[in-house]
Amino acid sequence: MSGFGPNPWIQRHWDWRAAANFVFGGAGSGLILAAALALPLGPARAVSLPLGLALVALGLTCVWLEIGRPWRALHVFFNARTSWMTREAFAGIALFGVTVAAFFRPGDWMEFVLGFFALLFAWCQAMILRASKGIPAWREPKVIPFILATSLGEGAALAVVLAVAYNMPSPLAYGLLAVALLARAAAWMVYVASVAPKLRGAPQAALVAVTPVLLWIGTFGALALAALAAALPRHFAMLLALAAAAAAILAGWHAKRTLVTRASLNQGFSLPNLPTRGAR
């Protein structure tokens, strides 16, 4: 009540700009990972890599806008030993390099390296949340599979769109999308089941309210649309693929934004013992 009690409140340090890093960086790295896993060489794959990088760069730019000392941004590289933010930065650099290399010299082992660094970047993002001990909704270990799954799901959704757009049917991309979205739904359900009871009030409600969006729109809706896209002729498929991707991606973004800015209750304070005040 009135901010005086033991009740926690929503952290105010990270706003939409930090959320945007998880939103865009997750989708971008997911796209690169999906491309490495599921897109055959060709224009769709060629476009996917710069698009993925652009999304990652957009996310990092958003963070850069949030930090208090933007001209010291390079200091972010100083603590690879323990900081997942430093590791994310290095992973981002590596991802840029590898992606550029993969763009020009694609190949089997390169796909492996590309996928590794894309996954590493997404992993770093998940671990950034995991290491935030002050925020119960973030430090929950079950946040990691969700962040990874949604990253892959969003990336796969974009990959499906690109495949359709460049008329390069990729059953693998559809398959990846299906697997990732189902995995994401499962990860989310497991995550929410673990975290929601630890929250209360509006933050809890916000988190719980994500579930139907993620399930019905982001998973089943998206998969149904994707199935139709796979089955129908191309000029229908494009619209349906776009709709499926939008459903999958926006649901994921909604979940991440909620996680970062609306469900991010801090730890609050608690007293395991109350003080004695004079004689009992």
């Binding site: 009135s2 004079g278 004689a279």
Partner: protein, 894 residues
């Protein structure tokens, strides 16, 4: 912080007396001539009972110094129309012009006569409460003394809104203008709303924290869970204004449900009026020859003696063989009906709780035990009852004070180690020494300077507008008495003077200093309207505020860290401030003045010079008005009365006299020494905390339980007033009883509600207030740092309401709500808490500012805006209580 090392760092010792719980000692860190930090005065850790520390208020002083909203030079009003809605049009003027203007007015007044046709002083002055402004106004008291009659009875909240019954009855019964448990030795305290952790100052907080660790149990009895209740062993949420019923039940249990031996029978028999025989007419049986009261040999006795019984105006009511019974027997009969079950129905405290508390009190009383203090063997009774504001003023205050003092007397815990102590005198003289004020009075009790009520001496014509000498015998007639009268009457009677009193007039010149009655009194709207009619107001002004909005001249005096004064510290004074040392401390400029302000001493001297009062002014200082007589046994630092002296000359002399006084003339350190050292003390024996040995040595008794003297006084006063056709004080006259009976006190407020057109069920809440340690008395409402840190304490941002009750009313935390009486309403933000009764609302402190820079943006209302000034709610001592019946609803806008 800048990393380059500062060129010069100084730490200057000074004092903080921003609140009545002071003074406390501090140092100010000055870096390159800029005051930056306040710190405790660690050098005083061993002599100050609070470890040489200062409370949060002192940490506002640096901002107070540099506040950009300060009045930066003398200013005069250019808009002759006064009113809240009028822009005063203040423009800067020179000090010379300001002094000229004031001196001209004062000289005109002197030429006409110091009092007006009604007999009231033409000059009035109002200062903030508790005597704290006197620690900042330098030699201004000497100017007022030189001037002559001044009406200091225009209230700003002190007195009538303070622990008023305690001030008057406490001083009457045991020289206790303020009362405190002997906290350092206490084991058990029943606290009816005494908000010690907020109002007890550094020393109170320090001592009670120690006492908690030691295992002292404090039971806090009050409608909301204050910071003090939070720090207590137990919180008893009592219904507002029913504390007498609570305390009476405790007395009942001790008298009727425990063996008599659990009381301190020898104390009652030998040191109270318990064995005095009371005759059939309710007056003491007296020896026909000596007219001295007759005593029984036991507490409970009926006896027939050859005696006389003397009535109010010396008439003999009965004589011959008269049957009497002891005062204690009268007490027993009186308290018989007040059972815990009776009490529980009134005060909403379970009977079992009442019985338990009474039993615990007796368990901790250590009847029969003694303790050696300073080589004296004294009774050891570590139990006490403390009373807070609102419990202790207005109707019911007398009953509470009587019950509290009786509870102490029953176990011999009055003025003995561990028990209930009076800690200062303000109505008896000398003000500086409680023990010397103990002088034999009538009937084996202490003398008390009651205002006369006998036919020959009663003051039918008041000396000032609040008529304290006429109406309130207990207010006495000392320097503090004017402010302890019914000071709201000064405001009320300007509208309509009751029959029998000379028409109350506006003072022709009103000085205002360190007070803001337009915010701090009741019915602030009416007070403001009255002020707007004052012909000439001189406000010593720190910033613009709600009172000086109506002023004609603003004079910026140098603030706390710019000005100079030496004050007495230590000894035994105010609440918990009883020390084992006494001496003096200097307040000194830590930096040069930041605005065109003058030291109050220089202002006083200049006023004296320009009004031709210099000689009397200097003579007054020489006599000791500045705190120390300048001439002593073997020293004489008297000022030349013929000329004006600078501030430093005056205080150098005061410092030398203080040094000499502390060292029996061996040392005569001047101002420079005091600036360097800040303070000097000598031992003050702990045994001086206790008045009991002094009374016992003089064979005097505590005037309890029976109040024959007050009853007599009440009857005399009633006769005098009726002889003068004054009937409007009859309700108050009924308060004079030999043994106070419970009355339905809450009902009084409900009746008043009905009188102004409200139904009880429509205004179901009791709105109360509570002390804010961060703000109380401090004149610091415009300090950002205080506002910021006070925000960490619940309730500073709005009205506290019980969370469950709020939910029933559809009010959520943070909602805008409207709090209303039938006459007025205010808006506030709801603060939902569990720690408050469902029938109670709480507005902390006194806000509702509309002119004070910074504070006017708070948007937090004040109880003062809703509480009426009311004759019906004024008790016999002339005080009222901060209580009002209200409704609350979610504001439409929210």
């Amino acid at each position: 912080m800048k990393k380059s090392e500062p060129a010069r760092i100084e730490k200057k010792a000074t004092y903080c007396y921003q609140c009545v719980a002071g003074p406390d000692l501090l140092t100010v860190k000055v870096v390159d001539g800029v005051a930056t930090e306040v710190e405790p005065n660690f050098a005083a850790a061993d002599i100050h009972p609070g470890g040489g520390k200062v409370c949060v208020k002192a940490y506002g002083l640096v901002q107070k110094l540099y506040n950009p909203n300060r009045v930066r030079s003398p200013m005069k009003r250019t808009n002759p129309s006064k009113g809240r809605d009028q822009d005063p049009g203040f423009v800067p003027i020179s000090w010379d012009e300001a002094f000229d203007t004031i001196a001209k007015k004062l000289l005109e007044i002197r030429a006409k006569g110091l009092t007006d046709d009604s007999g009231y002083p033409r000059v009035a002055a109002s200062f903030g409460g508790g005597g704290t402004p006197q620690s900042y106004m330098g030699t201004f008291p000497a100017f007022l003394g030189a001037w002559g009659p001044v009406d200091m009875g225009f209230g700003s909240g002190q007195g009538v809104k303070c622990t008023h019954s305690e001030h008057l009855y406490g001083e009457f019964w045991h020289r206790a203008f303020t009362v405190s448990p002997d906290t350092p030795l206490s084991e058990y305290v029943i606290s009816c709303g005494a908000n010690t952790e907020a109002s007890g100052g550094v020393v109170g907080v320090w001592r009670h924290a120690d006492a908690r660790i030691r295992g002292m149990k404090r039971v806090q009895v009050e409608p909301h869970l204050s910071v003090t209740a939070a720090c207590s062993s137990e919180w008893v949420p009592i219904k507002p204004k029913t504390d007498p019923a609570f305390l009476y039940a405790l007395i009942h249990v001790m008298l009727f449900e425990h063996p008599r031996a659990r009381l301190d029978v020898p104390f009652l028999l030998h040191h109270t009026a318990s064995p005095y025989l009371v005759g059939p007419n309710g007056f003491y049986l007296r020896d026909p020859r000596t007219r001295q009261p007759l005593l029984a040999g036991a507490l409970e006795e009926r006896a027939t003696r050859e005696a006389i019984e003397i009535g109010a105006d010396d008439e003999v009511l009965a004589q011959g063989l008269l049957e009497g019974e002891t005062a204690f027997a009268k007490l027993l009969a009186h308290m018989k009906p007040y059972t815990p079950e009776w009490s529980a129905a009134i005060c909403d405290v379970p009977a079992a709780t009442l019985r338990r508390i009474a039993g615990e009190y007796l368990d901790h009383a250590h009847i029969g035990e003694t303790i050696v203090i300073d080589g004296m063997t004294l009774p050891f009774r570590p139990v006490s009852v403390a009373l807070g504001k609102t419990v202790n003023n207005g109707w019911g205050g007398f009953e509470c004070c009587w019950a509290r003092t009786m509870l102490a007397a029953l176990v011999g815990a009055l003025e003995v180690p561990g028990g209930t102590l009076g800690t200062t005198v303000r109505l008896n003289r000398p003000l500086s020494e409680r023990h010397e004020s103990v002088k034999p009075g009538p009937d084996g009790f202490m003398a008390y300077p009651l205002n006369p009520t006998d036919k020959a001496h009663w003051n039918a014509k008041p000396n000032i507008r609040n008529a304290y000498r006429t109406l309130v015998p207990l207010a006495a007639d000392g320097p503090w008495s004017q402010a302890l009268g019914p000071t709201h009457f000064s405001w009320m009677f300007l509208g309509e003077t009751p029959p029998g009193l000379p028409r109350v007039t506006y003072p022709e010149l009103w000085f205002v200093y360190r007070t803001n009655p337009a915010i701090s009194f009741w019915d602030t709207q009416q007070v403001g309207e009255r002020m707007a009619s004052f012909p000439f107001v001189v406000a010593l002004a720190y910033t613009r505020d709600e009172t000086n909005h109506f002023a004609d001249l603003l004079l910026p005096d140098q603030m706390d860290l710019e000005s100079l004064q030496l004050i007495y510290i230590g000894g035994s004074k105010y609440i918990e401030q009883f020390w084992k040392n006494e001496g003096y401390a200097l307040r000194q400029p830590v930096v040069s003045p930041r605005v065109d302000a003058r030291d109050f001493s220089d202002i006083a001297t200049e006023l004296a010079r320009r009004t031709g009062l210099l000689e009397r002014y200097n003579a007054s200082i020489n006599r000791g008005t500045a705190g120390v007589p300048l001439k002593g046994a073997s020293w004489d630092f008297s000022l030349d009365t013929a000329r004006a002296h600078s501030r430093d000359e005056i205080w150098d002399a005061v410092c030398r006299a203080a040094s000499a006084e502390l060292t029996d003339g061996r040392e005569t350190h001047g101002l420079d020494w005091w600036k360097e050292h800040g303070l000097r003390v000598k031992p003050f024996p702990q045994s001086n905390w206790y008045l009991f040995p002094t009374l016992a040595a003089q064979g005097l008794r505590f005037e309890l339980p029976y109040q024959e003297r007050l009853w007599r006084v009440g009857q005399q006063l009633a006769r005098r007033m009726h002889e003068n056709d004054m009937r409007w004080w009859d309700n108050q006259l009924a308060e004079y009883q030999p043994l106070p009976a419970w009355k339905d006190f809450p009902k009084l407020w409900e009746t008043e509600l009905a009188r102004i057109g409200g139904k009880t069920e429509d205004f179901p809440f009791w709105l109360l207030t509570s002390r804010s340690m961060q703000y109380a008395w401090g004149g610091n409402v415009g300090m950002q740092i205080i506002h910021e840190v006070a925000g960490n304490v619940a309730g500073h941002g709005g009205v506290i309401i019980n969370a469950k009750r709020a939910a029933e009313l559809g009010i959520a935390d943070g909602d805008a709500v409207e709090i209303a009486t039938p006459a007025k309403s205010v808006r506030a933000k709801a603060v939902l808490r569990q720690g408050i009764r469902p029938d109670t609302l709480l507005l902390i402190a006194q806000f509702d500012h509309w002119a004070t820079p910074y504070a006017r943006d708070f948007g937090v209302p004040s109880l003062n805006s809703l509480v009426p000034m009311s004759m019906n709610l004024t008790d016999a001592t002339g005080s009222g209580a901060d209580v009002v019946r209200v409704s609350i609803k979610r504001s439409v806008a929210s």
